[in-house]
Amino acid sequence: MSAALPHAPLSLLSPSSTPVALRLDGVTKRHGAGGDAVVALDTMSFTVKKGEFVCVVGASGCGKSTMLNLVAGLDTPSAGKVTVAGERPALMFQESALFPWLSVEENVAFPLQMQGLSRKARAARVAELLRLVHLEKFAHRRPHELSGGMKQRVALARALAQQAELLLMDEPFAALDAMMRDHLHSELEALWQKTGLTVVFVTHNVREAVRLGDRVLLLSSRPGRLVAEYQVDLDRPRRIESPEVARMARTITDRLLEAARAAA
């Protein structure tokens, strides 16, 4: 997993001049060995441009989590190559995965501490991040004192603290109610626009993908394969209940069902 990429990415959809944040080249991942081996990901190739917001959708068993593990460097591919720009990517989970023995502030400071920042430098950065997610008043609380939505915002602040160029999100809002999810979509979109981050957002909610993504990648199940990609050219900010979003989501859902039928 090295830094800068030498040359133009291969993807047909990305213009050859823009820098690339993530590239998968024929990545295959098999779990287990011999006859029992299960192919979780099958020769997957795609490119994500710097600053792009890419959503990945697919039914369960499409290898979304496997793919994120490979990109995050928690696992190695059986074949092919994963190239990530910059440092280790940040990863956010469906559950907040906050450390219950640390305060909100200490949780957000954790990646900075791992990077060896001084206590003073950490405090300033943490205050700034908590302001960014509107939680500055809760700096000294423990995670168990927060609501689900607040926990996810702390987790987001913690992921941002890593100052990675690439933010990976594994169904981060799936456990929240619709209203909270709406709010967090807006906050995430605003943060993304402010910071110029590259986001890879995995979800099984097609509307959410269309609401947020510049591009939607569609994966098939067992084995996980990239079957289609959609450019979302709707103006931002979008509303999840708007007819344009609904129409596009329907197209993608139809394709998803078709892929599921083909797999069955």
Binding site: R142, S186, A190
Partner: protein, 338 residues
Amino acid sequence: MPQRELAGDASHARPHLHALPGGEDGGRDKSSDGHVLIDMPERQDAEDPLRAGLRAAVEGPTSTAEREAAGGVKPGRGRALWAAAWPKLAAVALALALWELVVLSGWRPEYVLPGPGAVLARLWTDLLAGDIGVAAAITMKRALLGYAIALVTGVGLGLVLARVKVLRTAAGSLLTGLQTMPSVAWFPLAILLFQLSEAAILAVVVLGAAPSIAIGLLTSTDQVPPLLVRAGKVMGARGLALYRHIIIPAALPGFVAGLKQGWAFAWRSLMAGELLVIIGHAPSIGVRLQFSRELSDAEGLLAWMLVVMALGVLVDGLVFGALERKIREGRGLTAEHA
């Protein structure tokens, strides 16, 4: 253009999101309501308007609800203390009553089984004479030293076994065997190796406590949620840092349970040791127990047994109980007591 719209969205989102925990924001609303409310209770406080006015001047505006809450604090705390204490006191009283009942039944003559009155009186005189203090100091010193050694070896062993899979497979069941082995069974060997010495006692105390501590560490690290480990790794915690910052703190509640069990084993081993390994110039609790038996001093024997029990309860409650409570409260693991 879209940015402006978004900022608007986010500020709309804020009050809704912050209203959720019902914490600080709620509190502030109440105090601003308090400004409206102050006059009313003051006027109702007819029997002493002067004092009420004075209090308002000193304390500043408070709402009726807040004053009621403040007034309720003192008896409330006393009541909570009483609520926690009375079942314990009642249990002790019941046990003493049963004891007295057995004595009164004449099952055994009083010089063999004296009643609680006589034993408690003896406990009091021994306490005043300083015998109990001296003996407890000797015994507790051994307990602490043995436990400290057990802690270091137990944690070291546990960490090594947790890190190295092969060693764990090899030594895991051996460790369980050590833990289940009654520590008294070690004494013949310990006495053979170290003679009747402090070292013999200490060795058995360590052998009694260390396996429990090591096993506690192993099982508690096994139960660390994999998601937290994954999150830690993503944020750059690898190797020792992963242990220091994620695995050990995450395993702490289970580890403390192991420490507590280790203490119980250490204390039992120590009592057995002090009865078997009599060191003349060190009048420990065990020695006093043994002498009481040899002198057929039943009162003294029971008084010393109460000392053993009291010390055990004290350490368990004050040290491990408090530690457990603090950890659980910090993580929101306490059960809601209605």
